[in-house]
């Protein structure tokens, strides 16, 4: 397949105009050259048809299951309209809106996304997205350290373990330290809500502890559909809210691309990393949008920038903006209620079968159980045979289970009865 429109004839004319005999003459400067290695050892080109066949076969080597798992990636329903809009060439194939007059669509979408994040989290201002929840958290920590000049990072229990790993990696690079105490060397205190085990909590006590020593309080929201029914972090004193927006209209896609978001209170505006769209007027007084505060960003601040971030994940931000618009207040609450009730239904059934439920707090759509002694492995492999990914196997025979609106009452019934059968057989 060949997307090169220039013909042999064109090529001859172009070379003549440039004043050379062949393309090789243009390559003179690009030494050293590899010996003409016959195409880098790659295979023959493929036509569109052949490519499609090949990719289908490859994709069929994967096995899709019924998902009862979350742990950072959530299987939600994406209304059909999201994709249809997203595939419009004007959204899909444009670049960063450096030239505002050419990109009013993207810029307005950024502004609306920023607004949605603020409305959901209770923050004053948000950027136009970051790579994913974990790196957004890392960037929030860098922001915090740049703000108060301190190096200690306190992480409350219950942060997604992968997020902890990412934080460690970034901190190592930036000479920051993850600590066990909150004191005047602490730059920020981090809490996830709902946490990795699904627990919901009013984190005001953490916020107070942070502020008492002059540290910032960061809340991390990995399952943001929870924000439809749970008090937002702005309510309990968060200075920064970060999180993962994948639940808002983005497919699970084997882990990416996802959607990080970051919102802050007003006083941190000048430190916020990433792109921000702002509303303004043109020379005729018409409302329009531009990227603003670019002087914070790497292409201007260079080594004085808080962050090196260049791309955001604009298309994903647009996807979630469209999702939130389509679902609306009513639809989003509905999603959250379905998630909540399905999870609690399954949890109840499992509790009746001697599964110990380990959440000591109210939970949203994820919960932790311990299978009857020694049997987690068995339970999960049996479910797997029936095409069900029953949860995430953790230490001590624990299983982290998630339900969303995609888990029908039927699915939950099947899950429970397969386990039941299995246990009766013993």
């Amino acid at each position: 397949m060949n997307y090169i429109p220039v013909t042999e004839n064109d090529k001859r004319n172009m070379l003549r105009h440039i004043g050379v005999n062949s393309i090789n003459d243009l390559l003179i400067e690009l030494k050293p050259r590899i010996a003409d290695s016959g195409g880098l050892g790659l295979s023959n080109p493929m036509s569109e048809l052949e490519l499609l066949e090949h990719m289908k076969r490859l994709s069929e080597k994967n096995n899709l299951m019924k998902y009862f798992i979350g742990a950072g990636a959530y299987n939600h329903y994406v209304p059909a309209a999201v994709n249809h809009l997203l595939m419009r060439g004007e959204f899909l194939t444009g670049y960063t809106p450096y030239q505002a007059e050419m990109s009013q669509g993207t810029l307005q979408a950024m502004y609306e996304f920023q607004s949605f994040i603020c409305l959901l989290t209770g923050m004053d201002v948000a950027n136009a997205s970051m790579y994913d929840g974990s790196s957004a958290l890392a960037e929030a920590v860098l922001l915090s350290s740049s703000y108060n000049g301190r190096n200690g990072v306190f992480v409350n229990n219950g942060l997604n373990p992968q997020y902890v790993e990412v934080l460690k990696t970034y901190c190592e690079g930036a000479d920051l330290e993850i600590v066990n105490e909150i004191n005047e060397k602490t730059t920020c205190v981090i809490g996830q809500n709902p946490d990795f085990y699904g627990n919901l909590e009013n984190l005001e006590y953490l916020s107070d502890r942070a502020h008492k020593v002059g540290a910032l309080f960061i809340t991390c929201v990995v399952e943001p559909t929870s924000l439809a029914i749970v008090q937002p972090p702005g309510y309990y004193g968060a200075d920064i809210v970060v999180g993962e927006g994948q639940s808002f209209g983005i497919p699970i896609n084997f882990g990416g691309p996802y959607l990080g978001f970051l919102g802050v209170k007003d006083f941190l505006l000048k430190k916020i990393p990433g792109r921000i769209a702002g509303m303004t007027a043109d020379s005729k007084g018409r409302k329009g949008f531009v990227m603003t505060f670019q002087a914070r960003e790497q292409h201007i601040r260079r080594e004085r920038a808080t962050s090196n971030i260049t791309t955001n994940v604009e298309l994903m931000a647009i996807a979630s903006t469209i999702y939130l618009s389509l679902m609306g207040r009513t639809g989003l609450k509905n999603v959250a209620k379905l998630c909540y009730s399905r999870a609690h239904l399954l949890q109840e059934k499992l509790a009746k079968m001697d599964f110990k439920v380990l959440n000591d707090k109210p939970f949203y759509n994820e919960f932790l159980v311990r299978a009857p002694s020694g049997s987690s492995e068995n339970v999960l492999s049996h479910l797997l045979k029936e095409g069900i990914l029953g949860g995430l196997h953790l230490d001590h025979d624990n299983i982290l289970i998630c339900c969303t609106e995609m888990n029908s009452l039927q699915d939950i019934e099947s899950y429970a009865s397969i386990i039941n059968e299995r246990m009766l057989l013993k």
């Binding site: 505060f293 670019q294 002087a295 914070r296 201007i300 004085r304």
Partner: protein
Amino acid sequence: MGSLEGTKFTKEHEWITISSEGLAMIGISDFAQEQLGDIVSVELPKVGSKFRQMQPMAIVDSVKASSDIYSPLSGEVVQVNDELSEHPEWINESPYELGWIIKIKPSNMEELDDLMTAGQYSEFVGEMGK
């Protein structure tokens, strides 16, 4: 624009004038504001912070650029022009008066000899255009 006699300039386009009380007022030159374009914000140092000569002490942001402001003399910050957060445009419109940025208490007046006079700065800027 009042008379610039007695005002001294740095190679980085800051100006500094010494008051009768021995305090120094600092800002950026007309040339600098012209180069930067419309100023949108200023990041000011905390009162009480100390700087060595030519150490960056503040940042001035325009739409397209971000510029460090270097301290023309060593000293301690005694006052900053907080109103610039509401009126960053004063730096463009009145760089030597309303748009003053920082006041310091210099610790070594001899450092003034390292700086250029208004006339020398004028020449310096003229040279830059070439």
